[in-house]
């Protein structure tokens, strides 16, 4: 991809023209983090350009209390818990996970690829209660709402969800407010933006003088978005730019938003490492409250402290790099993770660990023939 190399050169040249400036950007989404290290972009970026990963990994931001709820649900005899694969290995209290044999007996926990698969399991097992662990951001909320809609119309009453959806704009507001986040701009997540559009980010340039660029996930798209961000910063131009127009409509996906609004309303929610944030989660509306597994089985959420020493909270808040965590690569590895950031395929710690960011930069000491 010679095109990609040209883009890299262009970025280096642009950053080089402003040698006195330092550029620190928050990449909100975990998929951005993974893509950056997977394509080795961090090794080709100029030194004065730094990317910090943010709270954009849906599994990572779920507090320990949520995992405990899921574990307790899996312990009820006629309940089948369905979940995305990533959540299976996230430790709850006492480092128990859904993948533990005790929890994941033959029928109890099943991995699905979509909420509709969970609904299908509910249809096929009318004598069981099927609970879907509804974790995700704005991107996956419409699919859950669709599953609920089908469950309602087809009267599949043995289907419920454990609401765990989190919303991106409120957490960005919280980060911007906190004041100790030293960044010059935001690389906003492409997938989330396909649903919500551009408007929900407008408070960042308006109230906090931060440029926002919505970027895709391929290496070209990320570098393209960074080029725009650097240009905005250099010109003190605070606005929102959509650098992912092939997928993101400026006004979002109204149909999806309406469907979500029919079943859910924003509510305060707990985030790992960030505590409770106003209006940052989705709860089921009053008339669908029975679809909430926590209500149906009377398993309320309890706020439990994060595992001792775990740095996931600071990593998610953009305050630390994964390698700053004292447990990184030692106590906490993908085979025996302490925190969720080491589990999820979108977790920054997992990405850093897998792609060898254990401190030393990987640059070969031999002549490169290409």
């Amino acid at each position: 991809m010679p095109h990609l190399r040209k883009l890299v050169d262009k970025l280096t040249e642009l950053v080089g023209r402003h040698a006195d400036l330092r550029f620190r950007f928050l990449e909100v989404c975990g998929t951005h983090t993974t893509s950056v290290v997977r394509h080795g972009l961090d090794t080709v970026f100029p030194d004065s350009l730094e990317l910090i990963s943010g709270p954009g990994c849906p599994v990572c931001v779920m507090p320990v209390g949520y995992i405990d709820q899921a574990l307790r649900l899996a312990g009820i005899s006629n309940v089948i818990v369905t979940t995305f694969g990533d959540l299976m290995h996230v430790p709850g209290s006492g480092r128990r996970t859904l993948a533990d044999p005790a929890a994941s007996g033959r029928e109890r926990v099943r991995v699905v690829y979509s909420p509709l698969d969970a609904l299908r399991i509910a249809e096929q097992n009318p004598w069981h209660e099927v609970v879907f662990l509804a974790v995700g951001f704005e991107t996956t909320a419409p699919a859950v709402a669709l599953a609920l809609e089908r469950a309602e119309t087809a009267h599949i009453d043995n289907f419920s969800i454990l609401p765990g959806h989190r919303l991106i704009p409120p957490v960005l507001r919280k980060l911007a407010q906190s004041g100790n986040l030293e960044v010059d701009g935001f690389l906003a997540p492409g997938h989330v933006s396909t649903i919500i559009g551009m408007e929900p980010y407008s408070f960042l340039p308006d109230e906090y003088a931060m440029p926002v660029v919505i970027g895709g996930f391929g290496p070209e798209e990320i570098i393209g978005a960074l080029l725009v961000l650097v240009t905005l910063v250099v010109n003190n131009n605070y606005q929102i730019i959509n650098a992912y127009p092939k997928a993101v409509n400026p006004f979002g996906n109204k149909k999806a938003l309406d469907l979500v609004a029919k079943y859910f309303e924003p509510a305060a929610a707990f985030w790992r490492g960030l505590g409770e944030i106003e209006e940052s989660g989705l709860k089921l509306r009053e008339q669908y409250l029975d679809r909430n597994a926590a209500v149906r089985f009377n398993i309320p959420f309890r706020d439990v402290p994060d595992p001792a020493g775990c740095g996931c909270g600071s990593v998610l808040a953009g305050r630390a790099k994964p390698t700053d965590c004292p447990l990184f690569g030692l106590m906490c590895r993908p085979e025996h993770p302490v925190g969720p950031c080491m589990v999820s395929s979108e977790g920054s710690c997992a990405a850093y660990y897998r792609y060898g960011k254990g401190g030393s930069r990987v640059v070969p000491d031999f002549v490169v023939p290409w």
Binding site: T31, S114, D117, T139, S345, E346, R354, P364
Partner: protein, 406 residues
């Protein structure tokens, strides 16, 4: 996981000089002829997938293991474990495709066994095959033969089989059809050996894909290699599936491809030979062996005040990949730190300072008696030059890749 299981359970208990070579097939030397022997079990789900089925896979898998050892496959055995109630019609289809695959690869199935287990005791059907092949005298192809200066060639697009099977399970919402590449590589390997008999290593990148096989070769030969991501052939369908799910095609299995290491001057000759064949049209030069890393060949088990543990001798002071970069001095001292059997691993703490990296801190305080030191092989590293021109290690992954949520 499997890798650790092999090292810590099977190699330690069943180890012998032939097994210790850790190649796809064992070489049995006799006074008048060299034989090559291998076995493999097949538990693929679903049993039928686009491009093949478990029967074709069972024949090709074993035949290919013989071919990449440089042998001419001759005889196969087949063992079937069948769940009670398995449809006879499907069994017919599977055995028919075994027959076709055996014909295609020029082998005879000369021994067999059938066991029926009760319902629920097996998931449909499992097949085990074992194979015998002949190696011409003097041929030395082995995963520990990679040498600095070798060119690395792959015979075709990677990841097709893994992607095809994943799709055939029907769990992923992806429109499009991907055919498995399952086929015997006999034509490819014999053409290669005819064109360049000096080949150092041949492997078929099955489970764990290209990335895993390269890592295994790097470890067994104790070398560092540099792979150019841009030149790795990946079909468009596999590429878009991987982008959609956040997977890496380099970790998806192939069942009809060969990875070849040979002296760089012969690379163009080998590529020419491969590209002339239908299964090798997309053959490409993907990288080179760039250097040698120090031997790291002891696995240390220790017992201390705060519990015990196991680790590589090289790893005790750091993670495996890192060792390769620190090279000589640090690596050398790390080894000492871990100690030999019966010695006190008392200087572990010193190791942290030497390494100056994250590796050891967790093991501070695990100072204690070294119980056992085992030979386990060597450590090497694979570095990937990405399409963006950056560098990163191409690691060995533990566990199955998980598709992302958003």
């Amino acid at each position: 996981m499997t890798h650790q299981l092999i090292e810590r359970v099977f190699m330690s208990k069943l180890g012998n000089p032939i097994l210790a070579e850790k190649d796809d097939a064992a070489k049995l030397r006799d006074s008048y002829c060299d034989w090559c022997f291998t076995t493999d079990s097949f538990v693929v789900k679903p049993l039928f997938f686009p491009g093949g089925d478990i029967g074709r896979l069972a024949v090709c898998g074993t035949v290919n293991d013989l071919c990449v050892a440089g042998a001419t496959p001759a005889f196969l055995s087949a063992g079937f474990i069948i769940e009670e109630g398995f449809e006879t019609r499907r069994l017919h289809d599977i055995v028919d495709s075994m027959k076709a695959a055996a014909l295609e690869s020029g082998v005879q199935i000369v021994a067999g066994d059938t066991k029926v287990v009760e319902r629920g005791g097996a998931d449909g059907l499992y097949i085990n095959t074992a194979g015998l092949g002949k190696i011409p005298p003097g041929r030395k192809i082995s995963a520990n033969m990679a040498r600095p200066g070798d060119a690395i060639i792959v015979s075709g697009t990677v990841g097709q089989h893994g992607a095809a099977v994943m799709l055939a399970r029907g769990e992923i919402p992806f429109r499009g059809r991907i055919e498995s590449d399952v086929s015997p590589v006999r034509a490819l390997t014999s053409a290669l050996l005819k064109a360049c008999p000096e080949i150092h290593v041949m492997r078929d990148p099955t489970r764990g894909g290209l990335a895993t096989v390269l890592n295994e070769i790097a470890r067994q030969s104790g070398v560092t290699m540099l792979i150019n991501e841009q030149s790795i052939p990946v079909s468009r369908e596999v590429d878009s599936l991987c982008q959609l799910l956040g997977l890496d095609p380099l970790y998806l299995a192939c069942e009809g491809r060969v990875v070849v290491f040979l002296p760089a001057p012969l690379a163009s000759k080998a590529l020419e030979a491969l590209r002339r064949l239908p299964g090798g049209r997309n053959a490409a030069l993907i990288g080179e062996v760039s250097g040698r890393v120090p031997r790291w060949d002891e696995d240390v088990e220790w017992e201390g005040a705060r519990g015990g543990g196991t680790g590589w001798r090289g790893e005790v002071a750091g993670r495996r990949g890192e060792v390769a970069w620190q090279r000589g001095e640090v690596a050398g001292r790390r080894g000492e730190v871990a100690g030999r059997r019966g010695e006190v691993a008392g200087q572990v703490e010193l190791g942290i300072e030497l390494a100056g990296s994250v590796g050891l801190a967790a093991r501070v305080g695990q100072v204690g008696q070294v119980r056992q030191v085992r030979n386990t092989g060597q450590v090497g590293q694979v570095v990937l030059k990405t399409t963006a021109g950056g560098y990163r290690p191409l690691p060995m992954l533990a566990g199955e890749p998980i598709p992302r949520i958003c």
